[in-house]
Amino acid sequence: MDFIENLGSGTRASFNKLGRGTHFLIQIFSGVISVLLRPRLLLKQMYSVGVMSFLIITISGLFVGMVLGLQGYYTLSDFGAEETLGVMVAASLVRELGPVVSALLFAGRAGSALTAEIGLMKATEQLSGMEMMAIDPVKRIVTPRFLAGLISMPLLAGLFSAVGIMGGQIVGCGLLGVDEGAYWAQMQSNIDFYDDIINGVIKSIVFGFVTSWIALFEGYDSIPTSEGVSRATTRTVVNSAFTILGLDFILTALMFGDH
C-alpha cells in the first residue's frame, strides 16, 4: 500500500515540478525584450558563462580530436584507409561529440555555477529583496543568464569541433603521416553543410536551451539552505547529463534517420 502511495505522490510531485518549470520558462521568455533593451546585463553574463568556459572547451576539444585521430588511425590503417581519417574525425565531432561533450562540459562548468549562484541569492533572500523593490528577479537575474547560455552554447560547440578537427590533423598528419591533402579533401567531399554542420548547430542550440533552463530552474526552485543549494547543484549536473544524452539520441534519430 505504501508503495502505491509513494508512486502516486512521486507522480504528482514530478508533474508539479514540470508545471513549475514550464511556468518558469514562460516567465523567462517574458523578460527577453527587457533584457535585449539592456544588453549590458546580457554581456556580463556572456562573460561569466561563455568566456569563462572558453578554455575548458578548447582544451578538451583539442584532446578529444587528438584521441580520435590516434584511435581512428589504428583502426583505419588495418584496412589501408588512413586517408579517410579526416572524414571520421570531422563526422564524429561535428555530428555528435562537438555538441554533446561541450554541452556536458558546459553543464558542469557553467550550469552548476548558475544553480549555485541563484540558489545562494535565494538563500540569502536577495531575490525577495528585489521583489520588495518591485524588481522582477526573473527578468533581472534569470533571463540574461538564460540568453547568455543559449547564445554561448553553439559558439562553444563550434569551437570544440573546429579545435578537435585541428587536433586530429596534428596527430594524424603530423605524427602518423596521413597525407594532409587527403585529410582535408576527403573531409570536404563527405561532410555536408546542411546535413552535418547545420544539424550539429541545431543540436547545440537545443542543448544550450535545456542546460540553461535546468540549471536556472534548479537554482530558483532550490530549498534556501546550504544543503538545499548543494543538492540543487548536484541535480543540475545529473539531470543535464541525462537530458543531453537522451535528447541527443532522439535528435540523431530524427536528423540522420534517412542515411
Partner: protein, 156 residues
C-alpha cells in the same frame, strides 16, 4: 569602468572566435565551398546497370572531379537506369561521343562516374545525352563468371 571594458573585449573575442570556428567548419570542413560555383549544366546518361551509384557521387574525367550525380531513376520503357549528371560549366567542351562508365575507387571504395572524352568536334550541351555507356562491374557477377569458366576448363 576599466573592468567592464575588459569584459567587453573578452566577450567580443569570445564571440569572434566562436563565429570563426563555425565559419571554419562551414568553409573548410564541409562541402559548402564547392557549392559556391553553382554554375553547372545537366546531361543524362543511361546505364544498363548503375550498380551502387548514389546521388551526390562524384563525376570525374581523367581523375579530376568535374561534377556530381543529381538523380538516378529507372526508365520502365527501356529498363535502363537514367542518371543525371551535373557538370561544372567550366568544363563545357566535352565531345558528344564521350563515354560514361561506372567505376569503383579501389576495391571497396565508393562508385563514381568516369567520363572519357571521344574525338568528336561537337560538344555536349545542356540536357544532352551520353550515347556510349558502360555499366558498373558487379563483383558477384564477375566472380560467378570466373567460377563458371574455371569449372568448364576443368572438365576438358
Amino acid at each position: 569602468m576599466q573592468h567592464t571594458r575588459n569584459q567587453d573585449t573578452l566577450v567580443g573575442l569570445f564571440v569572434a572566435s566562436g563565429i570563426a570556428g563555425l565559419f571554419f567548419l562551414a568553409m573548410h570542413v564541409s562541402n559548402l565551398s564547392s557549392f559556391t560555383d553553382e554554375d553547372s549544366y545537366t546531361i543524362t546518361a543511361k546505364f544498363e546497370n548503375s550498380g551502387g551509384l548514389k546521388v551526390k557521387s562524384p563525376v570525374s574525367a581523367a581523375g579530376v572531379k568535374i561534377g556530381k550525380v543529381t538523380s538516378i531513376t529507372f526508365d520502365p520503357k527501356t529498363y535502363k537506369s537514367v542518371v543525371q549528371l551535373s557538370i561544372n560549366s567550366k568544363y563545357n567542351t566535352l565531345p558528344d561521343d564521350t563515354t560514361a562508365s561506372v567505376f569503383t575507387a579501389g576495391l571497396l571504395g565508393e562508385q563514381y562516374v568516369n567520363l572519357e572524352p571521344g574525338g568528336s568536334d561537337t560538344f555536349l550541351k545542356k540536357g544532352g545525352e551520353i550515347e556510349i555507356t558502360q555499366s558498373a562491374i558487379i563483383l558477384e557477377k564477375a566472380i560467378g563468371q570466373f567460377l563458371f569458366k574455371s569449372a568448364a576448363e576443368e572438365k576438358k
